[in-house]
């Protein structure tokens, strides 16, 4: 059975290790293996969590996103081997704490593309911590911040005691326009259950996760946050999956690093039930079939979080490709 790899990310000093210590103290998290990635020659974070997780594996040689994809693969394979030999207890999930400078996309791509890992591990949830007191500056100065926020399935605001309730409200609203994922206060999280770590699109109830995406509340807004923008495409007619695959694969190949996130609930030709897609930058996960539509509204919805890409151009491209690549019906062919 495939094991969920949950990723905890967030900019430097956003409270990832503090959260991990709290999570790992929860007795229900006992079947969790922990991987910690550190930037710098001497790893310190693993010492901070060692008390609660003695089998922590440290990925010491740099940032997960650029230099140690092979090391991540080796660490995950190593965990399985050690478990097989009985050196570590059986675990049900893995948590990877990234460095504050990591872009989560290549981590997801490693899991998707490595033939050795695919089938043994799948991406569970991406949890991103946002430092309430420095969020604005980090967004302005560090492109990784936006990539981390856009990739999140759960957004946790940390250090809320250092800002006023009004500032917190503004931050929540800003995060919500960047990514419609649930926003929680990190200090309130003491267990994996509160984070719904057991859920996600690969769980037994993917429809619950899709409901949390709040796709029907997302509106394309002309307002930009820095150079980030949300683009929502809706369409009534069932989608031709082949043409859509050609368009989206071409788009992600050319503009993947500018498409921070894509999520969609799609009404596809010849399929009674909706198809869910989601991905981060170049990396799109395998589509998930929902058992049924969540409501009578069968409108397809695709939400993109864009950085430096024009939403109107994207919309036009989608429309033109859909019309040009649609299979000819008997009527059209005549």
């Amino acid at each position: 059975m495939s094991i969920a790899l949950n990723v905890i990310t967030g900019f430097l000093g956003s409270g990832k290790t503090t959260l991990l210590k709290r999570l790992l103290s929860d007795e229900n998290m006992g079947d969790t293996a922990l991987l910690i990635n550190e930037f710098g020659d001497v790893g310190i974070d693993h010492l901070l969590v060692e008390e609660v997780a003695p089998d922590t594996v440290l990925l010491p040689s740099g940032c997960v996103c650029c230099s140690i994809r092979g090391e991540l693969r080796d660490a995950l394979s190593g965990l399985l081997e050690r478990r097989g030999r009985g050196e570590i207890p059986a675990f049900r999930r893995v948590i990877l704490e990234t460095t504050g400078l990591a872009d989560p996309a290549p981590i997801l791509a490693t899991l998707n593309n490595d033939p050795h890992l695919r089938g043994r591990f799948h991406i569970g949830l991406v949890v991103t911590l946002v430092d309430a007191s420095h969020a604005e500056m980090q967004q302005r100065l560090h492109p990784e911040w936006l990539a981390q926020v856009a990739a999140a399935d759960r957004l946790l605001i940390s250090k809320t005691d250092t800002v006023s309730p009004e500032q917190q409200q503004v931050l929540r609203a800003r995060l919500h326009t960047l990514n419609p994922a649930p926003v929680l206060d990190s200090a309130d999280i003491h267990s994996g259950d509160q984070l719904l770590l057991g859920e996600g699109l690969r769980s037994a109830e993917p429809a619950h996760e899709v409901a949390r995406w709040q796709l029907h509340r997302v509106q394309s807004t002309p307002a930009r946050h820095g150079d980030a923008q949300v683009c929502c495409l809706t369409f009534e007619r069932p989608l031709d999956w082949i043409g859509f695959g050609v368009w989206l694969s071409m788009l992600l190949r050319c503009h993947g690093e500018r498409i921070l996130r894509v999520k969609g609930l799609l009404n596809v030709n010849n399929s009674q039930a909706p198809i869910v897609i989601h991905g981060v930058q170049h990396c799109l996960h395998a589509p998930v079939h929902l058992p049924a539509w969540p409501s009578d509204d069968h409108t397809s919805r695709l939400v993109f979080i864009l950085r430096g890409l024009d939403a109107d151009q994207l919309r036009r491209s989608f429309t033109v490709f859909s019309q040009s690549l649609a299979p000819m019906t008997n009527g059209a062919a005549a």
Partner: protein, 99 residues
């Protein structure tokens, strides 16, 4: 791997057929028709190779073999010497004229 010809199967990709509505080979040919519509303005053509790969043919006789859509776009860019941008207004205008 095919035991007769020794060819490896196509890699798993998110854009693979969702169900078993059409035979896999027929789905693949439909996809090649769609790809050819997109590549025609660049004077490129794609043919199926053994049901597992794509054979890209350039106007000057250059050829590239690709496995999977991601590699196909990459090889097509190598043949035309620039990025294949689905947002390019010139490409969109040509597709509109052709549809």
């Amino acid at each position: 791997m095919c035991g007769l010809c020794g060819l490896l199967g196509e890699d798993v990709h998110w854009s693979d057929p969702l169900g078993d509505g059409l035979p896999r080979r027929r789905e693949r040919l439909s996809r090649i028709v769609a790809i050819n519509k997109v590549l025609a303005p660049f004077r490129l053509k794609v043919e199926d190779f053994q049901g597992v790969s794509y054979l890209l043919l350039g106007a000057t006789g250059k050829q590239e073999l690709a496995t999977g859509l991601d590699q196909l776009w990459q090889r097509a860019e190598t043949l035309i010497g620039r990025a294949l941008d689905p947002l390019d207004p010139a490409l969109l205008n040509q597709l509109e004229c052709g549809s």
